[in-house]
């Protein structure tokens, strides 16, 4: 089983096209898109379209939730008017997490236990994203079941980290290689933690 993983495209269509071509050349069995799809300062027209039609298994990031929550975050405000009804229907139907490969792979945007705004692997109190301690990461993995691989995004920081018997992989951001974190919530996120339980969808 070979899986392509992308996250945090933030509407950068030119970067998405380059990544799509590279992943296609690698011929994975499936591709997972970990969310934060459209909201961003780049291409407002093509970005939703390409991702919706990609055939990638896609989950919602905090920005997909914020688009639906009337967030006034600058990137969400910019993205909202360009979405067609078909795009909205697609976004509204995206799950918050995915379980793949008979439960062996768990995919989320932020962290399994903490939702789409929590950093699974990083301590950002110094503004720089430094790798957090095992003991800090471990409780954030609650909810992954029997998974031996966890895919996450949100911090735009590529990493592979092993905690106990679980490998955690963050691919980094397709098209927004950095941003300034302001007090634990990335700039322009402007949203709130998800209310209630995360929606969870089992894909295979």
């Amino acid at each position: 089983m070979k899986i392509g993983v992308i996250a945090d495209a933030h509407g950068n269509l030119a970067a998405l096209e380059a990544v799509r071509d590279a992943i296609t050349a690698a011929a994975p069995d499936l591709v997972v898109n970990l969310g934060d799809l459209v909201s961003g300062p780049f291409d407002p027209a093509g970005r939703a379209e390409l991702q919706m039609r990609s055939g990638y298994l896609t989950i919602a990031g905090n920005h997909e939730r914020q688009l639906q929550d009337d967030s006034q975050g600058a990137f969400d405000v910019l993205a909202r008017p360009i979405l067609t009804q078909e795009h909205w229907t697609w976004i509204e139907g995206l799950p918050a997490t995915l379980s793949l490969c008979n439960g062996d792979v768990f995919a989320c945007h932020g962290s399994p236990a903490g939702g789409d705004l929590e950093y699974l692997l990083e301590d950002v109190t110094s503004v720089r994203a430094t790798l957090d301690a095992d003991a800090a990461i471990r409780p954030r993995l609650n909810g992954i079941g029997s998974a031996s691989l966890v895919l996450c995004g949100h911090t735009h920081t590529p990493r592979m980290v092993a905690v106990d018997d679980v490998l955690i992989v963050n691919p980094g951001s397709v098209g927004m290689p950095c941003y300034r974190d302001r007090g634990g919530a990335p700039a322009y996120h402007g949203g709130r933690q998800p209310a209630g339980a995360l929606r969870h969808r089992r894909a295979s």
Binding site: M1, K2, I3, G4, V5, I6, N12, A14, A15, L16, E17, A18, V19, A22, I23, A26, P28, G40, P41, F42, D43, A74, L78, C101, D104, V124, R128, A129, S148, L149, L151, T155, H156, T157, P158, R159, M160, L167, V169, N170, P171, G172, S173, V174, G175, M176, P177, C178, Y179, R180, D181, P186
Partner: protein, 58 residues
């Protein structure tokens, strides 16, 4: 958060007999396209991010 390069990122993971293998990849693309879009929308810091992979100083 600062990836340190403008390359577009993705990962490939693969289940091997010994466990999961992971590869973190970066591919170049035409950064100017993204940077000019960000500038046109009034986000110079994100134009700099797209060109350099670094946070705009200051």
């Amino acid at each position: 958060m600062e990836a340190g390069s403008p390359l577009a990122r993705y990962a490939i993971v693969e289940r091997l007999d010994a466990g999961w293998a992971a590869q973190l990849h970066g591919v170049p693309y035409d950064y100017e396209i993204a940077a000019r879009q960000a500038e046109a929308f009034g986000f110079p810091a994100f134009a700099h991010a797209a060109r350099r992979g670094r946070i705009l100083p200051g």
